[in-house]
């Protein structure tokens, strides 16, 4: 059985999703459905950022929500306090996140795996506490409302993304570019190296790889995409408050990534879109939706910890050659 070239499958899926994205606003003018779509795309990028650090690099990090929130606040502050545009806000968000990630990562990677997880959790909690208590800067529980819609151009020729339809396309561009960039990274040497480190760290070290540096790269990359999605998100919602750090977000991205399959790409994308869209379509009440996420998380960890990708992989393995060896990963 011949193996179809991976590139053509990827191109096909990408084209399909992109086409679907472009068509959606023509199918509905309802800002309700457009909002669902925007959330779906932003959350998929956010979940993919967790996938980079947890799925590809094998580091369970609970700091992603911390970076998502930090990105949101930085962008909001750049716009409301410093008079910048959202684009400048997003760049600032990415830089702050990456800087923070490298600092925290450098300190935390020296610790055991367990300690790393706890430190990552502490980071998110610390950011939440800062948002809540540092009233002078963040306005505390009262939040920073009234965030203006993104716009480009100056003077007369200003194009504002103030309507749901326009924001939908903005989110589509954001998701396409972000996921595209992530895909390039994870299929490149960087991704292969990370996967090898996750697979067998001792072997990687013995081959001369600077494991810590590579892990830092993963952590920084993940933080950047978390921060960017957070920044875009709050500008759609037009307000940021400490709830942005709520454990709800950690739960959602964990469920998305585990269902999709740690370290897989398209399954996580599909999982992200489905898991954000389905509960809204079904109009489930808030608590029931959360309970079902919890149940899904439990079942996934117990029954299919490798996610849909893992199941698909097992099915494929029954029909083709044995699983990839470390040597193949090194190519």
């Amino acid at each position: 059985m011949t193996r179809t070239s991976p590139v053509s499958w990827n191109a096909l899926l990408a084209a399909l999703l992109l086409a679907a994205g472009i068509i959606v606003p023509f199918l509905t003018q309802s800002s309700y459905f457009l909002t669902i779509g925007i959330s779906a795309m932003i959350f998929t990028v956010f979940a993919m950022s967790l996938n980079i650090v947890y799925g590809y690099a094998g580091l369970l990090s609970l700091a992603q929500v911390g970076f998502w929130g930090v990105g949101s606040y930085v962008a909001a502050l750049v716009v409301t306090r410093l008079g910048g545009s959202i684009w400048e806000g997003m760049i600032a968000a990415a830089l702050v996140a990456a800087g923070g990630a490298i600092l925290i990562g450098a300190a935390a990677l020296r610790l055991s795996n367990h300690a790393f997880v706890i430190v990552s959790l502490c980071f998110t909690l610390l950011m939440q506490m800062l948002a809540q208590e540092w009233i002078d800067v963040t306005n505390g529980p009262m939040g920073i409302p009234g965030l203006p819609p993104p716009s480009i151009g100056f003077g007369e020729a200003v194009f504002s993304f103030g309507t749901p339809t326009r924001f939908f396309y903005l989110a589509l561009v954001f998701a396409t570019v972000s996921l595209g960039a992530i895909w390039i990274v994870v299929t490149s040497r960087v991704g292969k190296t990370l996967r090898m480190i996750k697979h067998d760290e001792t072997l990687a070290r013995s081959l001369g790889l600077r494991v810590t540096i590579w892990k830092l790269v993963a952590i920084a990359l993940a933080s950047v995409f978390a921060a960017l999605s957070g920044a875009l998100y709050v500008f759609y919602v037009t307000i940021v408050d400490p709830l942005i750090f709520d454990v709800y977000y950690t739960q959602v991205i964990l469920v998305i990534v585990i269902i999709g399959g740690l370290g897989s790409f398209w399954p996580v994308v599909i999982s992200g879109l489905l898991i954000t869209v389905l509960p809204e379509i079904l109009r489930t009440p808030n608590e029931l939706r959360m309970i079902s996420y919890g149940v899904i998380l439990l079942l996934a960890v117990l029954i299919m910890p490798t996610g849909i990708a893992g199941l698909a992989g097992k099915m494929r393995a029954r029909r083709t050659t044995p699983a990839t060896s470390t040597a193949e990963l090194l190519q």
Binding site: H114, C122, L126, E287, M290, I291, G294, V295, P305
Partner: protein, 297 residues
């Protein structure tokens, strides 16, 4: 500086610390003996509080009777579910490590419990009126409300019992043996599953007691467990993740420190202490505290 004020703060802090201790020692037990991180620990306390909220009115406000029922129910329930929990948490080599698996599983459990309770009871704050009279013991100018006094007394009794159990009884010593050195414990013929189930049950009972003593003091909502989990976590990390005695001591210290700092400085700092302590310890002295965590197997 007013001595009476300081004394009042210390007295408050001791009671709070004792309650923290109940909750934190359960968490420490689970990690020390089973290497389980229990993210649903706070929700277990919260469940006990809501259970009390249901039972107390049914018993005409009788606190002691309700307390007894809740604790016994927790012990029974704990023993029943412990078997299932153990099966769920077991992992073979090549699969997810127990630490990671328990983290994700208990995270899922905590979501289900929190939202389940919120769905049934809504997020409206719950105030439970018991037959504990309003008022306080006075020692000079220091006041200890009856509710706080009862909470403190119960906690002390439980700790005494726990200490005796762990040091004098065979099953208690078995728990400590497994925590100290799992392989050796197996070699001398201890049944790991029974020990594990006892540890889980004990942990759940401690949570139930912690929740039950809080209900005359707090007005609570379903998210009350989250803040308690954080405190418990901080205590366990600072004191040593498998170290039950460490957890108890740090809990007491944290309670007093929080109270004193909150009294003399801004309330904001009160909640920050646990948190900052945890971060400092992790950055400066994680090796000593994670000695148990770093062992393989």
């Amino acid at each position: 500086m007013s001595y009476e004020f300081l004394l009042q703060l210390i007295v408050n802090g001791i009671v709070v610390g004792l309650i923290y201790g109940l909750i934190a020692t359960g968490l420490a037990l689970l990690f020390g003996i089973l290497h389980i991180v229990n993210f649903a620990h706070g929700e277990m306390v919260m469940l006990a509080m809501y259970a009390m909220a249901v039972v107390v009115p049914l018993l005409g406000g009788s606190y002691m009777a309700s307390f007894a029922i809740i604790v016994i129910a927790a012990a029974l329930l704990g023993w029943l579910v412990s078997g299932g929990l153990l099966a769920a948490l077991s992992s073979k080599p090549g699969q997810m490590a127990i630490f990671e698996k328990s983290l994700l599983l208990t995270l899922g459990l905590s979501i289900i419990l929190l939202n389940g309770v919120q769905y049934i009871f809504t997020a409206t704050p719950m105030m439970v009126t018991t037959d504990i009279p309003t008022g306080a013991f006075t020692f000079g100018t220091v006041r200890l409300s009856y509710g706080h006094a009862i909470a403190g007394a119960i906690a002390i009794v439980i700790f005494a019992g726990l200490y005796l159990f762990l040091t004098r009884s065979n099953s208690g010593r078995a728990l400590r043996a497994v925590a100290q050195n799992r392989e050796a414990a197996l070699m001398i013929g201890l049944d790991p599953e029974k020990v594990a189930r006892r540890a889980i049950t004990l942990s759940i009972v401690l949570c139930a007691v912690g929740g039950a003593v809080l209900i005359p003091l707090y007005v609570f909502q379903p998210i009350v467990g989250q803040a308690l989990l954080l405190k418990a976590f901080a205590i366990v990390i600072i004191g040593g993740m498998g170290n039950v005695l460490g957890a108890a001591v740090v809990a007491l210290g944290l309670g007093v420190l929080e109270s004193v700092v909150g009294g003399f400085a801004n309330i904001v700092w009160q909640n920050a202490i646990a948190f900052l302590g945890m971060i400092l310890v992790l950055l400066i002295r994680p090796q000593g505290l994670f000695a148990l965590a770093m062992r393989k197997g």
